[in-house]
């Protein structure tokens, strides 16, 4: 009864692609490419591309799973397809996972701002500002959030890419731009694994998928793939510029390699001399986007878990979720702890979650074709795509 078709207006394919991309890109970009280089050295670039390939495959799996019952979020149809207990457990894991991702993101960004820009401001205030702003972004639902992201996120990404091109002027070692050929497999795999958190978060698609207009769903998938390809391209540029600037021996010693790189970008004579620092501040948009998408997903997953209509309860669920993230984030003392949480819990749980849940669901779906067909028929009959909300 709480199906997505009743939460109109829906989003377009491009909006879906933007929201899915915003759902993972901000996570870990400040550390990037420290984990890769620490483990894999110069081979790190292969590790990044391996991560990208794995993400393409996992994204494909998650879309295949969503296509089984396209008008219901995973949280809604999992109980009916995989049995109630399994559905409840998966729902709880999904919610906890979104919350943990949000907490780590808040702690990371606050730590960066506290250290580099707002050293006199209490951490809880920075966190509070982040939470209020992301709550406001998520408050008006998927369509509004998607439009805000289109207006803020895409220009920010374009500006960052241009700034990265400027950062190319500080490259010291062009020889390091060429990917090495004598690869050492184990360190590469280790680096690839440790760095994977930069792609974790795209699973917002399993909640978002039913909100795409029916006729735009294939297009939405293509935009999400396109966003992923663009992000791999941008991360490749980030990796190349940073390693050719700092070298593979120095990056592991740096706290925020990408932030340091951007802060090196100066435009002498321009009215904003420290241009790179300004762009870092603009990355707040990416963080807010990440947070807002997380809050939105968590609220909908909570509604699905408690079998309540998210149309009416969405905002009442959004508020406590925001407060919980804010309070837990305050309890995490610094970014080193959040880094530990990421490496110890988020990356392994994320990889298992992203790999096994779609595989399990698709397999059960193949075995229970009749149930899947019933679910599809039941959810498709309820509303005409594009009609106003009830």
């Amino acid at each position: 009864m709480n199906n997505a078709s009743k939460r109109l207006p829906r989003i377009s394919g491009l909006q879906f692609g933007t929201m899915v991309t915003a759902g993972y890109m901000a996570m870990g970009v400040f550390y990037f490419p420290r984990e890769l280089v620490t483990s894999a050295g110069r081979d790190g670039i292969w590790g990044l591309w391996l991560d990208g390939l794995v993400t393409f495959a996992l994204m494909g799996l998650s879309f295949t799973m969503s296509r089984m019952v396209p008008n219901e979020t995973f949280g809604q149809f999992s109980s009916q397809l995989l049995s109630k207990p399994v559905g409840v457990v998966l729902g709880l894991v999904t919610i906890a996972y979104h919350l943990l991702l949000a907490v780590v993101m808040v702690v990371e960004f606050t730590s960066l701002f506290d250290n580099d820009f707002l050293s006199g401001t209490p951490a809880w205030v920075i966190m509070g500002s982040l939470m209020i702003a992301s709550l406001y972004m998520a408050w008006f639902g998927a369509a509004t959030l998607a439009r805000v992201l289109q207006a803020g996120y895409i220009p920010m990404v374009v500006l960052s890419v241009l700034t990265l091109a400027l950062a190319g002027t500080v490259i010291k070692h062009p020889v390091l731009l060429v990917p090495p050929v004598n690869i050492q497999l184990l360190p590469l795999l280790q680096g690839s694994y440790r760095q994977y958190f930069i792609f974790i978060g795209f699973e917002v698609s399993i909640t978002l998928y039913p909100f795409i207009r029916n006729e735009d769903r294939r297009l939405g998938e293509l935009y999400a793939y396109g966003g992923l390809a663009s992000m791999i391209g941008i991360l490749t540029v980030m990796y190349e510029v940073s390693i050719a600037t700092f070298g593979p021996a120095y990056i592991p010693l740096m706290r925020w390699p990408m932030v340091t790189l951007m802060r090196l970008v100066e435009i002498s004579g321009f009215f904003i001399d420290k241009w790179g620092s300004l762009v870092i501040v603009l990355w707040t948009v990416a963080v807010l986007g990440f947070m807002a998408v997380r809050l939105w997903c968590t609220a909908h997953d909570l509604a699905a878990l408690f079998f309540i209509r998210s149309v009416g309860s969405y905002r009442y669920l959004l508020l406590p979720v925001t407060v919980v993230v804010w309070i837990v984030a305050i309890l995490v003392p610094n970014a080193a702890i959040s880094d530990y949480i990421t490496q110890q819990y988020l990356v392994p749980i994320g990889l298992v979650y992203l790999g096994t849940i779609p595989l399990l669901t698709i397999t059960v779906g193949l075995l229970r074709k009749k149930t899947v067909r019933e679910l599809r028929v039941r959810t498709e009959a309820q509303a005409t795509p594009g009609s106003p909300p009830e």
């Binding site: 050293s119 006199g120 205030v125 209020i132 010291k172 020889v175 021996a249 120095y250 706290r255 090196l264």
Partner: protein, 375 residues
């Protein structure tokens, strides 16, 4: 919720957001801060091994600067305080205790280092400095063998503050014969990378004329100051490093003078029979300033280019051998070996023991691009 309530709540929300995002906690007016432009690092006492000098513009000089007024010869435009301790934090505390304003490290433009600074103290200071988040890693660095305070305070007629003289020079790559500028991040990266020794521009002030001279490069082994190259050696160093902007050379035979020598360098490392070879290939262009014979035939120009190429190659080779005699690898031959032949580099436990054994070769291809105004 009525429309009025909804409007009121939105306004309140906007106000809350405005206050929470405004950064009021960090708001310190400029006139309440002593903005440190230059940091000096030198040895302290055994109990407080690091001595730091914090130099900042005086309030009156800052006002004059903002009003585009000239330099007052009567009063110094800068003031400084110093502090000592085991780390930067303790030095800072002592410095802060001597001023009535907020001693602010977020605007540091320059870090000056005494040549006799002990390596362990230097290492800790660099690490500490790179951890000050409000300061990005872009200040320029240099080293001096003279009294640090006199070099920090050296006045010129070309800039309002001593710091501005140094930073405007180092910012302008083409204002130097060789681009010797080094920023904090570049120095820290070299200091932490195996197979390369860091370097810094070496600054001296003429005691009689008070003129600042920057035409030498200082070589370090790890963070131990080893030597400062002569101005001629520094020009050769610039050629080997690809930093040359407007180097000139004079060959007595034929009275050949070339200027504006600059170009690219390509370093390749080769391992043959277990022995490391470093091959420098330098492609240069230059302007012919004068010769004994007035000529401009292609053949004679090619002969001049060939002759000067040989001379420069020999000079560069001599410099490389000199660095080998000092066990200092400022050109990063070990680092390139690590990148091109990582397995070979890993075999060497101490690169400095291997560096003197490296077989060096230098090829210079000089192209006389312009002929100047001779006919």
């Amino acid at each position: 919720m009525t429309n009025l309530m909804r409007s009121v709540s939105r306004v309140l929300f906007a106000v809350l957001l405005l206050f929470s995002l405004s950064g009021c906690w960090d708001n310190r007016p400029v006139d309440e801060r002593d903005m440190v432009f230059t940091l000096g690092l030198e040895n302290g006492s055994p109990k407080a091994p690091l001595q730091m000098v914090f130099q900042f513009p005086t309030p009156s000089a800052l006002i004059d600067y903002a009003a585009h007024k000239g330099i007052s010869p009567k009063t110094s435009p800068v003031a400084d305080v110093s502090g000592s301790g085991p780390t930067v934090a303790q030095c800072f505390n002592q410095g802060q205790a001597q001023v009535s304003r907020d001693l602010y490290l977020g605007q540091i433009q320059l870090v000056e280092v005494a040549s006799d600074l002990k390596p362990d103290v230097f290492s800790r200071a660099v690490t500490d400095l790179t951890r000050i988040g409000t300061m990005d890693m872009t200040p320029f660095m240099f080293v001096t063998g003279q009294d640090l305070d006199s070099v920090m305070r050296a006045q010129t007629t070309q800039a309002q503050f001593p710091t501005l003289y140094y930073t405007s020079l180092f910012t302008c790559a083409h204002c130097q014969t060789d681009n010797l500028s080094i920023k904090l991040w570049q120095f820290a990266a070299d200091a932490n990378t195996p197979g390369v020794d860091p370097r810094l521009p070496y600054v001296s002030v003429d005691p009689s004329s008070q003129e600042i001279v920057i035409d030498r490069v200082a070589l370090y082994r790890h963070l131990q100051f080893v030597t400062a190259l002569s101005p001629t050696q520094t020009q050769d160093f610039g050629l080997l490093k690809g930093l040359a902007n407007k180097v000139s050379v004079f060959i007595p035979q034929g009275q050949i003078s070339l200027r504006d020598i600059h170009g690219q360098v390509h370093l390749q490392t080769v391992v043959a029979n277990g022995r490391v070879q470093a091959k420098f290939r330098i492609n240069l262009t230059s302007t012919l300033a004068s010769t004994a014979a007035v000529t401009e035939t292609p053949a004679s120009n090619a002969a001049i280019a060939s002759e000067v190429s040989k001379v420069l190659a020999q000079q560069c080779l001599s410099l490389l051998q000199y660095t080998q005699s000092k066990d200092v690898d400022p050109l990063g031959i070990g680092r390139m070996l690590d990148w091109q032949h990582p397995n070979t580099f890993l075999k060497f436990r101490r690169w400095h023991q291997e560096y003197p054994k490296v077989a060096m070769s230098v090829q210079v291809h000089l192209h006389v691009y312009k002929l100047g105004n001779i006919k």
